[in-house]
Amino acid sequence: MHINPKQEIRHSKFAMFGIGMLLFLLIIAIFGPLLTPYQPNSQTPFAFESPSFNHWLGTNHVGQDILSQLIYGARTSLLVGFLTALLATILSAIIGTSTALAGGLYDKIVMRIVDAFIVIPAIIVIILVAAYLKPNLLVLILLLALLGWQGGARTIRAQALSLKEMGHISAARSFGASNLYIIFRHILPDLVPILLMGFIYGVRRAVFMEAGLAFLGIADPTTVSWGMMMHEALDFCYLNVWRWWLIPPGVALSLTILSVTGIGHTLEGALDPRLRREANA
């Protein structure tokens, strides 16, 4: 099985849209401070201003520039998304491959726990924890990552198990290779596409959850995020301000999730040989 994710992605409009959009967001997130004339947190007496040349998306209830908040919100979303997904993917890779290779009691116990976590609705646990702890961004990322690796670990374990049976790995073993050597030299490289997909869906999940928690108002209120903006804007939706206050972060969030979904969907299609198109004689 040799899959070239690059090629698959290049051929999918969905994925190209996703990558383009993500890159755009990434640039905005990185260069945000250069792009915005305002500090997102700086209050002014000019509250609820309609969009104008000075404030392209108007101002909110304490006179903060909404566009600046939107741009800084991209930072939060992407930071949470990428960092969480990275952590979760690393965790799932370690646990998935180690259980597959080690087997035995370790495998059994870990997989039981993994199964249990899969059926627990993660966001409920997170809400409960967040309600008590009011986590800052870093704690939130850790929390999301801790609750987000289990599904991935299962997939990776399954994949690693089938890889393990493959000839080149038996061959490596017959040369006396250690588990570590096999993991790093043979299994991990073959797992890259699956890890990539896990990562992509991890990003989606984390972005979604961060926004949800902020929307519930149980995220760190000093961090500007899209969910927070919507949470605040919803309180004022009896005014017309929702048009430039509530809709933009919602759309930004949706576009982010959509673009990530696009990439993930394409990768998934590429990874599942059964889903690939082929003429059968």
């Binding site: 209050q43 002014t44 009011k134």
Partner: protein
């Protein structure tokens, strides 16, 4: 012979379900039914929380709206309208200074909702009962004993002279029927129909906790005559939707955010403004260096532009705070309270007087940078941010973080903070000053280092002469503003909007012990 299974019920079911669902959708969409028009008059009040507990004295939630729902059923001896105390169950009263007691003449034509006659026994019973089972809003130790001198006369002996006795005790304590409650040992768990038998103008017809709704029917044998509104409803509507609900005519009244007021007025609704009885304060840890210095606290007051704060964080919908705590609109307000007009230069002067020197934007002392920790709950995030910005502009570095409200409470109570932002209501009756300045409650300044102030606070509580008391309260405000154990930042404007079918008003000094809600039961009676 094995049975042949019928083919694929799934698909067929689907073809039945889908059109059915479509029809339902259409019905639902075109269904505009908002209830049939009824002949009896009905009044609907919107509330964003909805549920405020079962409206018996022991089960309503301990916030104003809970009391309001209870007060439609249970009455007090005296009550208030928009300008003064008015008779309620008691038609007349008299203070006997020698005995430190009140004699109340009761109405003789009052019946409980179950038809039983209301008598002085019920009143005496109520005050005895609260000794065992304190009613959450009234300090039962204030009444030494209650005595029914005849069928419609009751005498209450006070344990000490207590100026706000009407406001805090007899104007707040709901009277409960002896014939029902004498058998109730666990009033907090008493939630059957008997628990809501009172003397008030309304009887409870339905209460739904999950929908957060209440339905009241007029009590036709009410001693002041059958109430004008036959049916009273409280419905739950989320805060942001109340303006729309008012505009769409779904509800008759509700509290509304300030931004929408002018729009609602244009739409023909009546707007009423609440007195400024709630304030947000900058809590200062006066137990701790350098905040234990009065000059330092004054410097803080000079450094914060409270007018600007109102403009930015409240979008102008508030009054700037008075350092004496009592709002300028209050009768008790001391007109010459020191105001600490915004003056950063003065603030710097004061700090320099305390041996601070300004280096690189921030003050330092003995080489150490002056940095204060500011904590606040999320609801004060904007205010906190503003305070931080202003203090930093004045050279005081601020480490601002928002915490879970409960954590803030805990840290403040343990003196584990420098500055905090906090809010409380009740600024009607000066007795609140005692509570929030010297008492050990967590949102009190707990400031007992000024003996004069402490004595004045005690004295005003027991001063039964109104003019004398006002003098004391003025002095308190002056000293408080001078010492600044805490700094009032602003008093927000609160609005209600209603359609005018009932003339709602804000009760003088708030309903009962100070509830800033314009739902006085008397408005629905006349």
């Amino acid at each position: 012979m094995p049975q042949l299974k019928t083919r694929m019920p799934f698909r067929k079911t689907l073809f039945i379900i889908l059109p059915l669902a479509l029809v339902c959708c259409l019905l639902v969409i075109f269904y505009g039914g908002r209830g049939q028009p009824s002949e009896s008059t009905s009044y609907t009040i919107a509330d964003s929380m909805g549920d405020w507990g079962y409206p018996s004295p022991y089960t309503h939630y301990s916030r104003g709206p809970g009391y309001v729902r209870m007060s439609l059923i249970f009455e007090t001896l005296v009550w208030k309208d928009d300008s003064d105390f008015v008779p309620a169950l008691a038609k007349d009263w008299e203070y006997i200074e020698a005995e430190n007691a009140y004699i109340f003449e009761l109405h003789d034509d009052v019946t409980w909702h179950d038809g039983t006659n209301f008598t002085a026994e019920d009143v005496a019973f109520t005050f005895e009962y609260t000794k065992q089972h304190p009613y959450q809003w009234v300090d039962s130790s204030l009444v030494e004993s209650a005595e029914a001198t005849d069928e419609y006369t009751v005498k209450l002996y006070l344990s000490q002279p207590y100026a706000p006795f009407f406001q805090d005790v007899v104007g707040t304590q709901p009277i409960i029927p002896k014939h029902i409650w004498q058998y109730v040992t666990e009033p907090e768990k008493f939630t059957d129909a008997q628990a809501v038998i009172g003397t008030g103008p309304y009887t409870l017809a339905d209460y739904s906790q999950e929908h957060g709704t209440y339905l009241y029917n007029a009590y036709s044998d009410y001693y002041l005559g059958k109430p004008a509104v036959d049916e009273l409803k409280f419905v739950k509507i989320s805060e942001a939707m109340i303006p729309s609900a008012l505009e769409q005519g779904l509800v008759n009244a509700g509290d509304v955010p300030p931004e929408i007021v002018s729009e609602l007025e244009e739409a023909g609704l009546t707007i009423i403004t609440a007195p400024h009885a709630w304030n947000a304060k900058l809590m200062i840890n006066h137990q701790k260096e350098p905040l234990s210095s009065k000059q330092f606290r004054q410097a803080l007051a000079y450094a914060i532009d409270r007018e600007e704060l109102v403009q930015i964080t409240q979008r102008g919908h508030a009054l700037a705070g008075s350092p004496g705590m009592m709002p300028p609109t209050s009768d008790w307000y001391y007109p010459d309270t020191p105001q600490y007009e915004y003056d950063p230069a003065r603030a710097k002067q004061l700090l320099e007087g305390l041996n601070y020197t300004l280096e690189n934007d921030y003050f330092t002392k003995d080489g150490e940078e002056l940095e204060l920790e500011l904590i606040a709950a999320a609801e004060f995030e904007e205010v906190g941010q503003f305070v931080k910005d202003q203090l930093e502009a004045a050279g005081i570095k601020i480490d601002f973080s928002t915490l879970e409200a409960k954590t803030v409470d805990a840290k403040v109570e343990a003196w584990d903070f420098d500055l905090s932002i906090y809010g409380h209501g009740g600024l009607y009756e000066p007795s609140v000053l005692h509570k929030v300045i010297v008492e050990k409650s967590f949102n009190s300044a707990r400031y007992d280092s000024n003996q004069t102030l402490s004595q004045l606070l005690e004295a005003q509580l027991s001063e039964m002469d109104a003019e004398e008391r006002k003098e004391l309260v003025w002095q308190i405000q002056e000293i408080y503003a001078e010492d600044l154990p805490a700094l009032t930042l602003y008093y927000p404007h609160w609005y209600w909007a209603h359609d005018g079918s009932v003339s709602l008003y804000y009760t003088m000094d708030g309903m009962a012990s100070g509830i800033p809600i314009p739902l006085n039961r008397l408005a629905f009676v006349k």
